[in-house]
């Protein structure tokens, strides 16, 4: 098994400057099939990180190179999260795709809204930006009610659209908030519904978890599809 490598890649997305780089976790042995794995967004990024990398490990064994780039403002990024917009993130994934010479992409949940145009691939349990916001807003209203200072969904949405808002610990700027409200999964991707993986979505859990048999299933589905569509 190849150990993964953490590498820098030049991210030239608008607003990131001319000398900006981000990190990516990669399994790169210079093979023909090169899969850009766009990680899940916001709270689901944490919950699905381990499972996503486990899928990449299995794809490595199956002969597929994989690349999981950090988005600007996330993880160790030097960019500021509240200044990010969907346009910047889409530019960034397109940059990463070019840099790593990706032949295909796999999106995870709401990252299906970031798939680069023209890059064929698969969307694992895709969901839209509105749904990603809905879960985090709901968590905030429940926590607020529990703390004895109730907040209304509409008020959080109004604040999000005008000034930006912190949801599940993620500071989302106003432009990003408005972008997310109308962002749908890219329609050129082939959907892999969670029900095909034989178990419940790990994003439902309170803490990050892993499931070896689901990772096997997803890697097998992708390996077969990639062999049929190299």
């Amino acid at each position: 098994m190849t150990p993964f490598t953490l590498v820098n890649w030049p991210c030239r997305a608008v607003g990131c400057g001319n000398d900006h780089s981000e990190m990516a976790l990669t399994f790169d042995r210079g093979r023909t099939i090169r899969l850009l794995v766009i990680p899940a967004l916001f709270d689901e990024a944490n919950k699905l990180r381990r499972q996503t990398i486990n899928v990449m490990r299995r794809l490595d064994l199956a002969g597929v190179d994989t690349f999981a780039p950090d988005l600007p403002g996330c993880n160790e990024s030097a960019a500021s999260l509240p200044q990010q917009t969907l346009a910047i993130w889409r530019d960034a994934t397109a940059d990463a795709s070019r840099h790593f010479k990706a032949t295909h992409t796999l999106t995870v949940r709401a990252s299906a809204i970031l798939a680069p145009d023209g890059l064929p691939g698969w969307a694992w349990a895709p969901t839209g930006g509105r749904q990603a916001l809905r879960g985090m807003i709901r968590a905030r209203t429940i926590a607020a009610k529990e703390a004895g200072r109730p907040e209304k969904t509409e008020d959080i949405q109004t604040l999000g659209r005008s000034e930006g808002v912190e949801l599940a610990g993620w500071r989302i700027g106003a432009t990003m908030f408005r972008d997310l409200e109308t962002a749908n999964p890219a329609d050129h991707l082939i959907e892999i519904p969670q029900s095909d993986l034989g178990g419940p979505g790990l994003w439902l859990r309170a803490e990050p978890d892993e499931d070896a048999s689901q990772a096997e299933s997803l890697a097998a589905i992708l390996s077969i599809a990639l062999e049929l569509n190299p």
Partner: protein, 96 residues
Amino acid sequence: MSNGHDLAPSRAAIDAKLRKILSDVLGLAADDVAAFDADTGLFGHLPELDSMAVAGLLTEMEDQLDIIIEDDDVDGEMLETYGGLLAFAEAKAVEA
């Protein structure tokens, strides 16, 4: 209002779906969730159910039971026990 062709799902069907959703959210085996009774404590009793997990639970209930849950529907009573959550789901399914 039922027209005789579009009956609300039965109590047993809602109960089974709700237990499956809880098993998915809590990461518990079906057998463990099958042992839940009306008084089994949920929010505030199970560490696996934080506000984010409850948000996921409600969204799964909306999607799988074909109901809409409003802010005002969510209160301590509905979330505190399995019986409270089941009664809520049944009432919503009849409305839907």
